[in-house]
Amino acid sequence: MAELGMTTPGGYLLVLAILLPLAGIILSFIPGGRSAERVALWSTPFGLALACTIAFHVGRAGKPIVYAIGGLPPPLGIALRADGIAAVMLIAAAVIIAAAAFYAQAKFATPEGVRESRSSLTFWIMLQAIWAALTIIFVGGDLFNLYVALELLTFAAVPLVCIDGRPETLGAALRYLLFALFGSISYLLGVALFYGALGTLDIALLAQRAQATPVVWTAAALMTAGLLAKTAVFPVHLWLPPAHANAPAAASAVLSGLVVKGSFFITLRLWFYVLPSLPTDTIAAVLGWLGSAAVIAGSILALRQARLKLLIAYSTVAQIGYLFLIFPLAAGSQAWSVIGWSAGLMQLLAHAFAKAAMFFSAGLLAEALGHDQIARLGGAARMLPLTFLTIAVGGLSLMGLPPSGGFNAKWMMLQASIASGQWLWSLPILAGSLLAAGYVYRILAPALSDGKVALELLPKRRHEAIALALTIVAVALGFAPQTFFDFLEIGRPMPAGLP
């Protein structure tokens, strides 16, 4: 396995994908605040093209593409690797970042004659920083490097939460920062113990050396605890709803759709890529239970919210819960675990697109009506048909009704839980869908009823179209062919060495 750290054809693309947003950050504030917006908008198509090219290379090679930075291979150097899931996530991130950038253009633009503001420069820089951090998280091959990327993600996400400086956003940002800092320091402690026990931090090398020793277990437990705090899984979800609900809509979409997925992605890397050879039944069950609790609690809390954006934020808590069912449902190397794996990643993608679209719509709604109180939505659907169509279609995916990516994910999860004999997991899946139907109904029922609302301003068609396009992607994921799921398997280590 000496070729693990060697640069493969196309490996340089990974460096380009990281450098593009980083160069954007530097470029954004060298020529001054006005050009930041143009830099961010112009870099998104290139980023998307790069992500697609990387996916093409991975698909053609049938194995991960690797780049050893500076020609220095691990263990001393750092390697970047793009496998199936990394390539898919790169594309998803590029699409959602691009959508957020074009959506936010109206709010954070500084045309000639308008005074520059801190918030707009901050927004464009932090948006690109989130993109850079996520790219590194998806292709990073070194656990310490992933730590720095996680911190980068935090430092980019927190200022976005409090960008308009209202007291409640400042408080939410502070709470988010403290949770995130605790999460990353706990992760870092795990990294230290991993290095002490195994002498490397490269994911592929760790996978070869990992054994079920107490030190490895402690390290993995600490890292998982930290990542759970950052992913806002149920008992440590407290920071998420205020942070996501109070940020501007474009930022909320990125935070809910992508940023929490970053730390979840590293959790996947840890258990399925670093420690595939360990007997992880107990841990998988614990994570599954936490996820189930999140599904139920998040959905119930979503049902009780008075504000639309808070409802959507609590729905994120619930939908993140589903993601953690991947640990019991994709463990081992049986036939059903492949279905469980596909299901988990489908949920990841479908939620990212559907949730981003819903936050965009909620933002448009709040701007049009001047508030986002659910009780005062009566008759709004007639005034804003396209916005409500987006919310409804996105809601379908959250509920898991066909045809949608959400349906695909939840259906495959049910299949995996029954095929593996762990039918208990099907209960939270079904209950979560019912509750999701409840909270989506809570939004749509008053909006579709008779009533009259006064619009403060009419949302731009372009913005509605961006939101709708994202939900169409979420629906299209429901028609994903088998080759897509085969692609997701590229580079996934199979636990052949199970006793």
Partner: protein, 429 residues
Amino acid sequence: MNLLSYLDIGLALLVVGVAIWTIAARELFAAVVGYVAYGLLLAFVWIRLYAPDVALTEAAVGGGVTGVLLITAGKRLGALKNAAPDVQPGLTFKLLTGALAALVASAIGAAILMLPDPPPSLAPEAAAAADSAGAGLGNPITAVLMSYRSFDTMLEKIVLILAVIGVWSVGTDKGMGRHTGAVPPTQALCSDGLSRSVASTHRRCHRNSYVLDRCQRARRRVSGRRLACGDVDGHHDGAAGGAAPHRRAVASPGFGRRTSSIPRRRPRGGGCSGRLLCLSAEPRQANHSVHRSVHAAVHHGGVADARRRSAERETGSMTPSVLAGLVGAALVGLGVYGLILHPHPLRKLLAFNLIGSGVFLVFGIVARRGAAAGFRFDPVPQAMVITGIVVAFAASALAVALILRLATETGRVTLDPEAWTLPKGEDAK
């Protein structure tokens, strides 16, 4: 057990004692002062782990600048009325948190005691790499930071840039561009003063590493010659004892010359642009004395090195590195306790910094255990610690900026969500 081991144990107890004070102190100000003292003590622990680079960074950034930041923030908050939340946690909650913290600390302590023997290390590879023509950097840590983990180092810079922008963004638009009229002091501190301080700290770190690099390059030259005599991690103790002192005597004039060429601290009087910058001269002075004692350790430590190292082996579990590891575990436990229990965000931030330094100590003992091939430590984890300390400082700066702005806006400092939301009906948008 010789004198040194007693000193080590004393130092460990002192560090943990001051850390307990930092968590337990009633007054915010007392806790912050305790934290500054703690940062300086920690520098000595790092010297005992043969990590002068980290000791300098910890004394300057971990204890010094972060301390100044927290003291300034504490003073500002003290001026505000009704700043401190008056809710005190109940006894049951305290006991539960204490149990959790003890559990975490003992799990980490146990993991440290169970680290594999012989320890895995990248020191031989790093040694070969630092000697190779390609790297061209005498200091192994600099070599790791600048070439092998250059990607991390680059990202660390981006993190700092983001922290500066983040701190700046928390300010209000009134301070944007040219100053038009008087800016309230809190606001000035929130935005531009703090951003400047983040940036200047970064510059100072660079200067430190430059000075260290020059001195260590000289030291490497000395230890490289000793390496030629066969003093490789205590395998050939006899040869080292016989030949090394002579070689060192030959090499030390050059060493002395090098030292004298280190740029002296220029007196700074009126050149300071901000209050924070002025205060920061103090840690630098501390650096110098730390620096000198590092030199002393290098010179005198070398003679007794072989003997001491075998003594370490004999005393078994209570080597300085194991002791430091247990201190690290205790610090993490204390930090977890404080983080959960203290309602005041600034106290939470202090507790977070305690956890951080505990985690860095764990890295430190991992590095110390990895000593091999003429290195007293594995440079890879040490390089990571330096990155980590800088990132943790950036995090503290951002948090302080948020806390100050929150205090300015609401007149209160609390994480209680009830306090942030406006009265019902007004939170429409």
